[in-house]
Symmetry: C2
Subunit: 341 residues, 2 copies
């Protein structure tokens, strides 16, 4: 192991620049190493741009996340935002601030994880910034993407729309709870497969890029966003931006057997993980209810990903009514909000 | 004063979104408030992208920088990178992590400073991220710009080129030294005007955007970059990327009377500030020596900014020879490098 202090900033930049998959590629006229990246946007495409700042001990803990996992997740959460517009992720700018005690091998691992997440989608690191930090690891990824059609916004929900979600919810929160429980005896009651599924959901979320592109091509899909802060918070955005109320049937929330297993083992509520846990990076959408079944079949055929209708939008004050099978109100846990934690 | 804890993340985002100058404008199809910004790049332009991460107590100290100054500088340093390519800055993504104890008014001040730097250049804040921090203020600005011609790279220097720099060097380092000296008796020997000039150079650097656009339009200009880490480090980049040696006449370095005054008052070396201090955000270029005088006259006429030839490029191992008036070697202070700080 060797410290970044010995390598210095220039040595570190040269090392990042020389790594595979971090170089010139389609659309990249100038990559890492000049004052700015120079990029060629596809004619007739609009540019999508998103940024996420991750701070040690707020967004991740070094005790439960390796440098490789931090790199993966830093890119994946931004790809999820591009996916939520129905776009194609293309170019990343990666800023990293490190304590002088950081090891060069950890930096290599961080970039290796980031490239692992990037490579299947053809995303290239075109620039960034490296600096010292007095405050643990700080990571900022800005991701640029393209869209050749009409990006789907949170404000596009219509009264009468079905509300649907890809994949399953609550896995990331269950995985975090399992990691925080550490070697707790309760976890020994879980199968290895279930434990692996939920910890992976927390550590290595998959952005639904192909799903987003498929969904944004279907006219029956109206509002579209990603589920990053918890269904409660995220659907709240669609309600507010669309000026509509939502009614969600709690029994229809797609929760995997592994999450139920973790909830039993840890004595926790799986519905709370699904509605308030966040970080699932599934896509949340509203669509013409008559088209929902065809949409789900088409999405499954194109991407292998399940789509589950969980409720509907209606006229009314923006907000979410959570109901049981007989329409009775159910209290659920709110999503995550920074500063209120 | 009220804390961000009381306002919460959503309240903070609504507040940022509602501020003047942070909204939809030319080329912005979707600004703050959806999963990504949606931007319309000018047909036939290439896209420029740069990012800078600023961490409290590494890049700034709250004792010597107000929130307004941090906001100004966070944008200005990125505009300087766009200027160094000869481009036009257009859209900013601003990520801010704050301790829960931060005051809402400080956040307002940060964005006000950022807008003050942005407005004269028509730069619009189109997105960002807000989160909690366990580690003081953390700011990341990603700036996107456009260029319709050929961006000027660090690698474009040619043997025989004159090396020239806009404005003056050493002001920002002198200003930082004065601020760190606090109320030292030595500063009382400086005029108010000189003290104000150097502290402003440190706190509110001006990106040389108009100068960059002018220079990149002149065919005689070859390599171009901004001077952010100190002349020694930055010219070193041009030497290495162009595969050439530089010879700089120390007596020709443009150092303002205020910097000389501060150096006398504090017992410091003005040349060390000019060569190693960094953060001047002037433009550093190489050009056809026969065109240098016309270039300087043209730049002064177009922008009011002075251009000073300080030396030349020649074949040889990449590196800088600093020489006196009679060609004798002079030892100078190296520029800034993170981790080695």
């Amino acid at each position: 192991m060797s410290g970044v202090r010995a390598l210095g900033e220039l040595g570190l930049i040269q090392r990042i620049r020389a790594a595979p998959g971090v170089s010139c590629a389609a659309g990249v006229a100038v990559g890492i190493g000049d004052d700015t990246a120079v990029l060629e946007v596809t004619p007739s495409a609009v540019l999508l741009a998103t940024t996420d700042l991750l701070v040690e001990d707020v967004h991740f803990r070094r005790a439960t996340a390796t440098a490789r996992e931090i790199g993966w997740k830093a890119l994946a959460v931004n790809m999820s935002d591009i996916a939520a517009m129905g776009g194609t992720p293309r170019w990343a700018l990666v800023a990293l601030a490190l304590p002088a005690s950081a090891e060069v091998e950890e930096v290599d691992e961080f970039y290796a994880g980031l490239r692992e997440a990037a490579a299947p989608h053809g995303v290239i690191v075109v620039g960034g910034d490296t600096s010292a930090s007095t405050a643990g690891w700080v990571v900022n990824v800005t991701l640029l993407g393209e869209h050749r059609g009409t990006p789907r916004l949170r404000s596009m929900g219509r009264s009468g729309d079905a509300v649907a979600v890809t994949g399953t919810l609550g896995g990331a929160a269950a995985g975090l709870a399992a990691l925080e429980a550490g070697g707790a005896e309760a976890l020994s009651r879980m199968t290895t497969e279930a434990l692996e599924e939920i910890t992976r959901a927390h550590r290595r979320p998959n952005a639904r890029v192909a799903e987003g592109r498929f969904l944004a091509d279907v006219g029956a899909v109206h509002a579209l966003m990603d589920c990053s802060d918890g269904l409660s918070t995220d659907l709240g955005h669609i309600c507010r931006e669309s000026g509509l109320a939502a009614r969600i049937e709690v029994d229809r929330l797609p929760v995997s057997p592994a999450v139920h297993e973790a909830a039993r083992a840890l004595g926790r509520d799986p519905v709370a993980w699904a509605t308030g846990g966040g970080e699932d990076y599934e896509l949340l959408l509203t669509c013409d209810p008559a088209a929902a079944a065809d949409l789900a079949a088409g999405l499954a055929a194109a991407t292998g990903t399940r789509l589950t209708v969980i409720g509907e939008l209606a006229s009314g004050a923006p907000g979410i009514a959570w109901v049981g099978a007989r329409g009775e109100p159910i209290a659920v846990v709110a999503g995550y909000e920074h500063f209120r934690g």
